[in-house]
Structure formats: C-alpha cells, structure tokens
C-alpha cells in the first residue's frame, strides 16, 4: 500500500469518472428529492421550497405508516424465503464439479437476460386461475380421479377441479419478489462459500460432528458475510418494489412503493412522494442498523 501512496495519480485518474457519475446522477437527484420534500405545489409543475414540514406530517398518517409496516413485513418474509432457497443452491454450486460450475452460475443469472416486466408478466401466465400451474394441477387431478374412481375413492376428489387462487394476493407478491431477487442472494452466498477452507469442514467431521451439525456450526457462521450482503441486496430493493406488487398483487396488496410511484405520477404530488421516499430511506437505515446490531450480539454470544 505504501508504494501506491507514492504514486497517487493513478488513483485520482481512475477515480474521477466514478466520482463524477455518482455526484451528477446519484447525489444531485437525491439532494433534489430531499429539497422537494420541503416544498409546496405552486402549480401543475412548479414547486416552491418553503421548508414546510406538512409533507412529512402527511406522510406520517396512520394509513401510510400501515403501508410502511406491511412493506417491511412482505420484504422481510421474501428475504427470508430467498435466503432459505438460495443457501442450498449456493452450496450446491460451490461443491459442484469444476466443469459444470460456470454452467450452473450462468443458470443462476439467466433470468437477468430477460426484462423484469416480461418476467413478471410470464409469472402471471403461470399463476393465474387458468394458468400453467393450475392446468398442470388439473391434469394431475383428472389422472388421479381416473385411477381412484374404479377403486371407489372417486368421491374424495369432488366433481369439479377447483383451481387454486394464487394470483393477485400477498403470497403472489412475495413469490414474485423471491423469484426476481433470488440471484442477488445466491451470488454473494456463493462468493463466500467458494472461499471457505474445505479443511474446516473436514475438521468438523473428523471431530465427530455430523454433516448436519457441520452445516449449522461451521458453514452457516462462516457464510455470515455472504448472508449479510445477500440480505441487504434483496431486502432493500424488495422494500421499494412497486412493479411486482402492481402486477401480481391484488387491490389490498399495495405497498409503499406503489404509493410513492402514484404521488410522483398520477397524483402529481411530488413533495409528498419525496417525503415518503425519504421516510422509507430512513426506516431502511434503521432496520439494517438494528439487524446488524442484533447479528453482532448473536455472534459475540456464540463465540
């Protein structure tokens, strides 16, 4: 490192594009939204910054707070499911043969090759009442009934297949979030597990632990950095999602992201949208800080 400090030019030159990009396209818009949250509508497009706190007061309305809470719950559940689904996947890729590993990793990121909107509409085709899932189930139902009827068990199946109502509700939204954000969980987990020293796993077995114990007491604790990144990468965007809840959710599945979107577009209430955005930002910070803190406490106790 010392020798690099002697030649700082290389740092400054490579740093400039990134810094400029962040300043112009990230911090400036963010600062603008922050300002607009203190503004008042003065016309169809004009907004005066009057440093009013009305927008925040309005944003703290119990109606919105309830939506905040619901968004947190849905994002948390979806993140938890992502973690549970992604861990074995990441583990399988890690332990896969060196030749099939690139293929498996490609399959993990394959969904990224299609547009989010297309993927979400595809989900509708699968989940809707006359969708692929229900057609498949109906086929199985018919097959089972055909077999069961000669045995006198036909009544168990009823006279008509009742399709599952799995679209346009909260579970569908969670399902959609898990589907869309799963790679963001798999990849950091894989990166961490890949670096794991295999002899630690052998040592655990050697000391008498079963594979199951080894998983919980060695693999999971050592995968913590990957779990942390994965959880942040899934939880944060899930919290602000509006497309998935809009397309897959029912009338009662509106999330805070949908409300914010509506303020900026249909309702044309940019100051309120800005205030809600920043409330969401602060809440996310607090949630992640709390989570990191409890995590650290657990780690210390386990040590």
């Amino acid at each position: 490192m010392e020798s690099w400090r002697a030649a700082p030019a290389v740092f400054w030159i490579t740093l400039v594009p990134g810094v400029v990009w962040l300043l112009v396209f990230f911090f400036a818009p963010l600062a603008l939204i922050w300002l607009l949250a203190f503004g008042e509508r003065a016309g169809p497009v004009a907004i005066d910054i009057t440093w009013t706190l009305d927008n925040y007061r309005q944003a703290l309305d119990p109606l919105y707070l309830g939506l905040f809470w619901k968004s947190f719950r849905i994002a948390a559940v979806a993140t938890a499911i992502c973690l549970v689904v992604a861990f074995p996947v990441a583990l399988a890729v890690t332990f896969a043969d060196g030749r099939v590993k690139p293929l498996l990793l490609m399959l993990v990121v394959l969904p990224f090759w299609t547009n989010l909107l297309v993927r979400t509409y595809a989900m509708i085709a699968v989940l809707r009442t006359r969708g692929y899932l229900n057609s498949g189930l109906e086929y199985l139902w018919m097959a089972a009934k055909t077999v069961a009827t000669p045995l006198g068990l036909g009544e168990l199946f009823g006279d008509r297949f009742r399709p599952l109502e799995i679209l346009y509700n909260d579970p569908a939204v969670i399902f959609g979030i898990v589907y869309v954000y799963l790679p963001f969980m798999v990849l950091p987990l894989y990166a961490t597990l890949e670096r794991l020293d295999r002899s630690l796993l052998e040592a655990s077995l050697d000391l008498g632990a079963s594979h199951w114990r080894t998983f919980w007491r060695v693999i999971v604790p050592l995968a913590r950095p990957g779990i942390v990144s994965g959880v942040i990468l899934v939880f944060v965007p899930a919290l602000g999602t509006f497309l998935i809840s809009d397309l897959l959710g029912g009338p009662s599945s509106q999330l805070i992201g949908n409300v914010i979107e509506r303020q900026f577009k249909a309702a044309n209430n940019v100051p309120l949208g800005a205030a809600l955005s920043f409330l969401l930002l602060y809440a996310t910070f607090v949630a992640l800080a709390l989570w990191a803190w409890s995590n650290e406490r657990m780690r210390r106790r386990a040590g």
Binding site: L200, S204, L205, D206, L207, R224, G303
Partner: protein
C-alpha cells in the same frame, strides 16, 4: 527400536492391499501396513508419493478403490469420518476462525453430546497439556502459527482418539519452532499414550520423532523400519538417497571363496564382503554414508580400503563440515565433525587426503 512398541501383538491399524486411483494416476498402490499400538509411526516420502492420500483414507475422507483398513481388528473402510475413533491435525491446522480457543477445543465434545461438566474438565486438561492455559478467550486471528498448531493438537487430543493423525504438522513453522514442536510432540505422546501417525516429507522430522517409519515412493511402501535401521541398513537406492546422503558404488564380483566375496568397487579398489550379504549376482550396488569415511591427511593403516582423494570443496555447517572430494575420476561426499575449533586446519580445498572405509559400514542395496 524403541522397547515400548510391541510389534508382536495385534496391530492397532491394519492396512490391507489398499489402492486409490485418481483418474489414471495410482496415488496409493497395493499398500499393506501394520501400525502397532502405542507407536509413533511416520509415513515418509517425497510430495506426491501417496502418503497424504493414505492418511486421508485412514481418517475416512477418501475411500480406497481396493483393500481394507482395520482399526482394532474392525473394518473401518466404509465408516464415515465422524464415526471413527481417529482424529487429525491438519496441515493448515483448520482451526475454526469463528470460535475462541476454548470453543475450538470443546467443539468435538459438544457435538457428540458429552455433558457440560466433563467438557469443562477435559478442555482444561487438554489446554494444559499443550500449554495454552490463559488463551481460552483468544480468537484464532490473534494466535501465532505455533499456537494455532497447539489448538489443533488440543482439539484432537481432547477426543482421546485411538489414533492421532498428523498431516505435515510442522511444515508451516519456522525452524526453531519446528524443533521445539518436535520435542513437544514426543513428550505429548508419552503423556497421553495415544498412537501417533505422522505424515512428513522431512526425513529429519521422521528420524527424530518416530519409532517406526514407512518410506513411500510412487504410491508404494519401500521399507518399514525403525529410524536407525532405515539409516544404517537402507534396502533400496531410493531409501539410501532419500534418507540422508549416500555415496553409491557399482560393484562387480571378482571372486568367491569360502564365505567371502571379493568385490571390485568401480575405480576405487577391491573389498572383501561376507558372502551372505552379497547374494548370487555378479553385479551389485553398494552405499556408504558420508560420515563413515575416515578422512585423514595420512594413509590410514587400519582401513579395509583406502582411497587417495582430492578435496574439491568444503561446506561448513557448524557442528559438521561436508566435504566434496574427487577420487578415481568420481565425486564422493564425506562428513567430518568439527569437534575442535575450526576442524582440522589441513582440510582446505585442493588438499590431498586419504579416505578410509570399513567393510562393515558398506550397505549392499537390493536394486
């Protein structure tokens, strides 16, 4: 051989015709070995000779393609590693980085349901054994290499295994620490009375610690013996050259008469060897350890064979000096002790010296 080791009794570990292949490579080739109870046994060989694969098969991390591994007479070949009364000290130590020293040592007891009180007692005992008292709350990143090694040892010994496997345990330590750890391992083995199986490529390590050594090369066991026999009576050229240094000579049988054989050693001269050590061939290979030469500026009167040589080069090693000599058109190596300050002042490069040997020091090799 050490008197503690009883080779006549049933062995603790019996390896029967074990073979392990990795693709086209035969890592371990029809190896059969008996490891006696209470031995400090070493598998010695160059890297890639199959010794680590053999160790990993005993631990249960690899499955033999052929053959069986028995422990206390019981077939262990298909028993998973966590059910074998065998523990291992890994080359990389494999100390759990997310646990304190205490938790590392207690791990093997906790996962097998040993009661808390007993865990506390045994962990304390194990940490005292490896002299890590007071380090319980440390985390691995706060430990030196030698201390991590001790944690790995305590963690294995606390399980009271029938057999402790050591995979190149000292290779990552610096020289001084390595010598200390060698003595420490010998002391530990006496204290705990557990059979140790050491894998190493370092002949010094094997010779100084083990009481039985199996020399391996290219997947096969070449010779099993105690350190003294291995050094003094190597059976093959590989063993003679891998353990220590050896002067090798081609020999030709000149004549046989009543119990002795006259053998011509290349360009150096003739020696008389006892017939039973030579066998029936007409050509043989002889080895002589470098320190067996008697190096003398005057012609030694009592030697069985004396050779005039020129001292080419000399390497000073503190306690000894290694001499590179030329005699009869070939290079020879001799080692002399520097008991007197500076050694013999007449031994300087270019000097004419005499090399004397006793026939009893010559070893007839099988190949």
């Amino acid at each position: 051989m050490s008197p503690r080791v009883d080779v006549s009794g049933p062995p603790l570990v019996r390896i029967e015709g074990v073979t392990r292949r990795f693709g086209p490579v035969v890592a371990v080739d029809r190896v059969s070995l008996d490891i006696p109870e209470n031995a400090f046994y070493a598998l010695l060989g160059p890297s890639g000779c199959g010794k680590t694969t053999l160790l990993r098969m005993i631990a249960g991390f690899e499955q033999p393609d052929e053959g069986r591994i028995l422990l206390d007479g019981e077939d262990m070949t298909r028993v998973p590693p966590n059910r074998r009364p065998v523990n291992m000290v890994f080359q990389s130590y494999a100390v759990f980085p997310h646990m304190t020293v205490w938790k590392n040592v207690a791990y093997g007891l906790e996962v097998t349901g040993v009661p808390q009180g007993e865990i506390r007692r045994r962990v304390e005992e194990a940490l005292a054994l490896v002299r890590l008292e007071g380090m319980e709350a440390r985390r691995p990143h706060q430990l030196s290499g030698g201390q991590k090694q001790r944690v790995a040892l305590a963690r294995a010994l606390v399980k009271r295994p029938r057999l402790l496997l050591l995979d190149e345990p000292l290779s990552a330590l610096d020289r001084k620490l390595r010598e200390d750890m060698q003595m420490e391992l010998v002391r530990l083995r006496h204290e705990v009375g557990i059979t140790f199986l050491l894998v190493t490529h370092d002949q010094d390590e094997a010779l100084s610690m083990a009481d039985r050594i199996a020399v391996m090369n290219a997947g096969r066991v070449l010779q099993v013996a105690d350190p003294r026999t291995l050094y003094e009576q190597p059976r093959t050229r590989f063993v003679a050259e891998f353990i220590g240094t050896a002067n090798l000579f081609e020999g030709r049988v000149v004549a046989r008469c009543d119990g002795t054989v006259r053998v011509r050693m290349e360009d150096l001269g003739e020696v008389r060897l006892p017939a039973e050590s030579v066998g029936n061939g007409t050509h043989l290979r002889l080895a002589l350890r470098p320190e067996k030469w008697r190096v003398d500026p005057e012609r030694p009167p009592a030697a069985d064979l004396a050779v005039a040589a020129r001292l080419v080069e000399m390497a000073y090693h503190g306690d000894t000096s290694r001499l590179h000599l030329e005699a009869g058109g070939r290079r020879l190596v001799a080692v002399v002790h520097n008991a007197r300050r500076g050694g013999d002042p007449r031994l300087v490069p270019g000097a004419r010296v005499w090399l004397g040997l006793a026939v009893a020091d010559l070893v007839v090799l099988e190949d």
